[in-house]
């Protein structure tokens, strides 16, 4: 039984024929839409490599059934830069060596964007670490990741103050 699912991914509306209800949002992004920036780590909701922003909130795309999210808006790592201008969180990860092998990085960055949106962390490194605990980094780049998130928070704060002015 084929069912069509419509998703707006990185601003582009896509209709996908699903011939199998088992397809997760993660597999749909990677296998059907060829957006392989979102990584499959554990595929069981434990590592955070598959983090995307779904309808404005960070979630594990490996534990979301695509068919259940008909009509949703999805933001992935491919959709955050503006042309050649990196997103401030991407800039901050580069500036603070927030990665080594890079496999967890798209999930870390999407999770950080979600965290900054949620607005719970402020400038407290403990709250940043707590808020990022759903993203594992086997290389152990946690110190750089925490610094990057704090720095990105500052940069985004300055940018929004500028916009207001």
């Amino acid at each position: 039984m084929a069912t069509s699912t419509t998703l707006t991914v990185n601003g582009v509306t896509r209709t996908i024929q699903l011939d199998d209800p088992r397809v997760t949002l993660l597999d749909l992004l990677r296998e059907r839409l060829e957006l392989t920036g979102t990584k499959k780590g554990c595929d069981r909701g434990q590592c955070g490599a598959c983090t995307v922003i779904l309808d404005g909130r960070r979630i594990n795309s490996c534990l979301a059934l695509a068919i259940s999210h008909d009509g949703a808006h999805v933001l992935t790592i491919e959709g955050i830069a503006q042309g050649n201008r990196l997103h401030p969180v991407q800039e901050a990860f580069l500036a603070h060596d927030g990665l080594q092998c890079g496999f967890c990085t798209p999930g870390q960055i999407m999770s950080a964007i979600g965290l900054l949106e949620e607005g719970d962390a402020g400038d407290d490194p403990e709250r940043v670490r707590e808020g990022m605990s759903g993203n594992l980094c086997r290389c152990g780049a946690y110190q750089g990741i925490t610094e990057a998130v704090l720095d990105a928070q500052k940069a985004l704060g300055a940018a929004s103050r500028k916009e207001v002015a």
């Binding site: 069912t3 199998d20 209800p21 088992r22 997760t24 595929d43 069981r44 909701g45 955070g48 983090t51 779904l54 909130r57 960070r58 979630i59 594990n60 490996c62 534990l63 979301a64 059934l65 068919i67 259940s68 999770s111 979600g114 965290l115 949620e118 407290d124 403990e126 709250r127 670490r129 707590e130 808020g131 990022m132 605990s133 759903g134 993203n135």
Partner: protein, 352 residues
């Protein structure tokens, strides 16, 4: 993962009818169910997707002064609801200490109550497990059982219920609203989960096709807001299930405990209300010796089910510490590390 029919009902009535068929399971966010299906632990032949049902994602304040939380409210949304967190701070703290930010953003209130145990032998389909495969035995007995139950377990199952959310809820007299073929009924959360006995595959009082529509807290639950905490010891600081946890809520008048609520998590196949401890606390002074007596009472029925004798003494200490934190007062803002014993709290000694 086995394949399944996917059904998306438009009303609760349609959902209940669809889920009354053999092999059917309800799907909300799927954060627990999909994990179980990927591991072959549960194999539903039909998923009834209730995540699009209307009106189940609301936090309402009925005229009786309590709160009614729809089954589809996301864990993070409930914890962040300012009014809810102000009135029921221990519930908000428990929610924010559970899982990860990504999971809390997706997981629902109803799903949290219905989540399955994390017993490694339940998850390992090569293990004997009376819960997964009734009558097959229990490899957790004599197996990996360091984190297993110390209360209410049976020879057939020693697993624990993993929810944080349910612990303060049961302490505060939460009621579960259930919809089924014969309409709506209410079940006190304290009665909702079944102890394993000789049928560990039956985990709660839901009949075939029944679904959780909402969970309610009574107005009296808000009277503990000034002195209500949740404390949870984990094997890592964040993003782990409880080894042992406790919710403590006090109503203090003139330096005396007028009323108390205590419940334990991670010790049994249900959130464990410690009424004996509450009786010790009521009318007593809010001091460490009272808290120690309450902790002793809370654990009198405890016995180890394996390599977990340490959990009994740990649970006593967690009760004392949770009560000490509650007596010190609910903090204005959730600690940086919610429910963590590593969170610094002004005026409270870290070791008791």
């Amino acid at each position: 993962m086995n394949t399944f029919d996917y059904v998306r009902p438009a009303t609760i009535r349609e959902a209940v009818a669809a889920a009354s068929e053999p092999g059917a399971a309800y799907l909300a966010a799927g954060t627990n169910l999909l994990d179980l299906m990927k591991g072959g632990i549960t194999r539903p032949s039909r998923l009834v997707d209730i995540s699009h049902l209307p009106n189940l994602d609301r936090i309402e304040e009925p005229s009786d002064g309590g709160v009614r939380v729809g089954a589809l409210v996301r864990n993070a949304d409930l914890a962040r609801d300012r009014n809810f967190a102000r009135r029921f701070p221990a519930v908000a703290e428990a929610l924010m200490s559970g899982a990860s930010a990504q999971l809390r953003n997706a997981a629902t209130v109803g799903g949290n109550i219905l989540q399955r145990t994390r017993c490694a032998h339940f998850y390992d389909v090569a293990s004997a497990c009376n819960k997964r495969d009734p009558g097959s035995g229990c490899d957790a007995r004599g197996g990996d059982n360091r984190l297993h139950a110390v209360m209410g377990w049976s020879e057939s199952c020693i697993a624990t219920h993993p929810s944080d959310f349910c612990v303060p809820l049961v302490a505060l007299d939460a009621v579960v609203e259930v919809e089924g073929r014969t309409g709506r009924r209410e079940i006190p959360l304290e009665m909702f989960h079944r102890l394993p006995g000789d049928a560990p595959d039956r985990e709660n009082l839901l009949d075939t096709g029944e679904m959780i529509a909402a969970v309610r807290l009574p107005a009296q639950a808000a009277q503990f807001a000034a002195h209500a905490r949740y404390l949870k010891v984990r094997e890592r600081t964040s993003y782990a299930f409880a080894v042992v946890s406790a919710a403590a809520a006090l109503r203090i008048e003139n330096d005396t405990i007028a009323d108390a609520r205590v419940a334990l998590g991670g010790v049994a196949m249900k959130p464990w209300r410690a009424r004996e401890a509450e009786r010790v606390l009521a009318g007593a002074g809010a001091d460490t010796s009272t808290f120690r007596r309450a902790a002793e009472e809370a654990l009198t029925a405890a016995k180890p089910s394996g390599h977990n004798n340490f959990k009994i003494e740990l649970a006593r200490r967690i009760v004392v510490r949770a009560l000490t934190l509650a007596a010190a007062g609910t903090s204005e803002r959730l600690p940086a590390l919610p429910a963590s014993p590593f969170a610094a709290t002004a005026g409270v000694v870290s070791h008791v």
